[in-house]
Each structure stands twice: as structure tokens, then as C-alpha cells.
């Protein structure tokens, strides 16, 4: 279980120069943690395989949040999933980016009036790139990744910093909607 909150990041720890150089490597080697919650996940196989070949951009799937740079949320998020998503997001090593696929992450999509599905992902975790569509086609998904690369290049993909700075606000939203983020469930006791 998560045991620490954010430690304060001093300026020398950030070490600007490393970030500058690092940005070049980061945008050319983006590893994704695919959080395939919804139907948009079906767009990823063509994006990865020979049709669109994500690997030529240096992207690839990764197994654990520790190794990954991008948290790819593909589709609707139920309350139960959102708790796990927040936990996973907080486990990722910085810098980290979030890409939301499909209209469900933007405004709830076809589940906008469901009692179990949240409507707006960026209230809970910062989202760097949204890809609209229900579901977005594969070109759009690829375009979203390229947008993210551009954003990293122009230093506008600052979601992880935003999350750090406005942690209280995000936390408040999470608690307002979820009640409790870290729950106990009987199958993992």
C-alpha cells in the first residue's frame, strides 16, 4: 500500500539542465502503461502493429507503472477503476503524462448519466492530451501521441507538476466523488 506522500522537490534536485536534455530523450522514447478500461482499447492493436507501427515513434507498452511514462486511459472509468487509476498514477515515476482516449474521459460520453461512471477525468488526475471521438480512430490516436510529443518539446505537458502543485485540489475532487480513494476490499485482505 502507498506509504508516502510527495517529498518537497528542491530546485537543485530538479536540476534544470537534466530536464532540458531529458526532454529530448523523453519525447523520443515514450513508454505507455495501458489502462484499458473501455472500448477505445481496441484502437491500440492497429496502432501498435504493422498498420500504424507505434514503435517507430519510440513508443511501446510497458508492464508496470514504475517503468512507464504515459498513463493511457482508454475509455470510461467507473468509480472502482478510478480509485485504482489514481493509485497507479501516483506510483509512476516522474515526469509522467496522461493521455485520455475517447469522449468518456472528456465528458462521460454515452455514460454521462451513469451512477457508476465519472464524467470528467481531468478533475481527478491531470490530463495532458485528450483524443476525442467515440471511439477515436487510429489516426486520431497516433495524432494524439504526436501532440503529446510536441507538448513535451514546448514544455506544456506539465500535468505531473500541476498534480504536485494542486494536489489538495485534486485530492478534494477525488474525495468528493469517490468518498475514499484507498479502500479495503475483502479479496485483498
Amino acid at each position: 500500500m502507498k506509504s508516502t506522500k510527495f517529498s518537497e522537490l528542491s530546485q537543485e534536485q530538479v536540476d534544470r539542465k537534466w530536464w532540458e536534455i531529458g526532454d529530448f530523450f523523453r519525447r523520443n522514447s515514450l513508454w505507455m502503461l495501458m489502462y484499458c478500461t473501455g472500448c477505445c482499447a481496441i484502437e491500440l492493436p492497429p496502432a501498435m502493429t504493422s498498420a500504424y507501427d507505434m514503435e517507430r515513434l519510440g513508443m511501446g507498452p510497458m508492464a508496470t507503472p514504475r517503468q512507464a511514462d504515459i498513463l493511457l486511459v482508454s475509455g470510461y472509468l467507473s468509480l472502482k477503476t478510478l480509485r485504482r487509476l489514481i493509485y497507479t498514477y501516483e506510483q509512476m515515476s516522474e515526469p509522467k503524462y496522461v493521455v485520455g482516449l475517447g469522449s468518456c474521459t472528456i465528458n462521460g460520453g454515452i455514460y454521462h448519466d451513469s451512477h457508476a461512471v465519472i464524467n470528467q477525468l481531468d478533475q481527478y488526475v491531470p490530463v495532458d492530451v485528450y483524443v476525442a471521438g467515440c471511439m477515436p480512430n487510429t489516426e486520431a490516436v497516433m495524432n494524439g501521441f504526436v501532440d503529446l510529443m510536441d507538448a513535451i518539446k514546448h514544455k506544456t505537458a506539465n500535468g505531473w507538476k500541476k498534480y504536485r502543485d494542486n494536489y489538495d485540489w485534486y485530492r478534494q475532487n477525488q474525495i468528493a466523488s469517490l468518498g475514499e480513494v484507498e479502500v479495503h476490499d475483502e479479496f485483498h485482505e
Binding site: 468509480l79 465528458n107 462521460g108 454521462h112 448519466d113 451512477h115 464524467n119 470528467q120 469517490l178 468518498g179
Partner: protein
Amino acid sequence: MMNSTNNALEVITLVESKYNVVKTEHISKYQVAFEVIREDIHSMLNFLKNSGWKQLSYLSAIDWPEEDKMELVYIVFNWDKGVHIQIRSKIDRENPEMDSILPIFPGCKYYEREAHEFFGIVFHGNPDSMKQLILEGWDDIPPLRKDFDPRAYSEAHFPQREYTETFIELNQQESKQEKRAARQAHIDEVRKGGKK
């Protein structure tokens, strides 16, 4: 190998000869539904289990606010004959209670918990039936009851994205707003008392 249509018919004669069935529905070649009184359910499930319907496929409920009833549905399946049997029974809606079928089908444990969570039915005899299973920290009326308004819940709990209210009428389509308003009115009515 016998014809499965015969199987279904055979089941109907078998069950009707033994139990006082309120209504029988021969849905398809492989499905039969019986509506029985609540007291018969246990002995009937026991009987069916002994006759080969060994698998409890599903247990759920349907909310009938107009009739002020809650209908329980048990689905059992026979692997030899390939026939699904639904057993339905209507119970009181205000205080939905039922005795657990845990002694007959131990696998019903989680179905009953789910039914309790989504419809508020209390199963006596299932020790865990009041524990939460799926909805973590739910604080409203059971969400699959018809008087529950998911939209209101969603609006109250989840922040909505703000859009500017500009509508374009396309091809003189009937506005969905009125339908929506009518549905809302109906829901409100159900919520107030549920009675006509």
C-alpha cells in the same frame, strides 16, 4: 438423444404436476420460465437440483414499481438436457426479504450479495449478504431500483464539463428535451410514492 423441445415440454409437465405454478412461459426451445409463489421456491429449486438442474446460472431481481413488487429470478441450468429454467417470484417491494438458498446452491452467495447491493433485497440465512461487494462505499438507495435517478446522482457527485448552451435544430427533429422532461416527471412521481 432426445429432442430438446421435448425436454422443455417434459419439464413443464413435470413441474406443473408437482407445484402450483402461477404462470408458465415457454420462451424458447431451451428456456422455460415459471412464476411461482414465494414459499415454493426453495422446495422447487431443491427438486430441480435433484432432477439434474445442478447449476445456478444466475440470481437477480426486477423492480416493478407500478405493481409495487420486486420480482426475483433464479436461473438454473441442466447440462444434460440443455434447458435453462427461470423461476420467478414476486415479493414485497417496500421490505424485500427472502430466505437464502445457500443450503441448496452454495454458489448463490455472491449473487445474493449483488442483489442486496443493487436492489436492497435482504436474504436471511446468508451471513455475508449485507456486506458490500461491488459498489465501494455506496451511500444512496440501491442503484438498480427504478426510483433511483442515476442522472441526478451523476450530476450531484461527478463534476460535469461546462459547455455553452447553444443548440442547433437539425432537420426539424423532435426535440429530446421534452421526452427527457417527461421521463424525469415520471421518475419523480415514482419517487414520491411509487403509486399511481
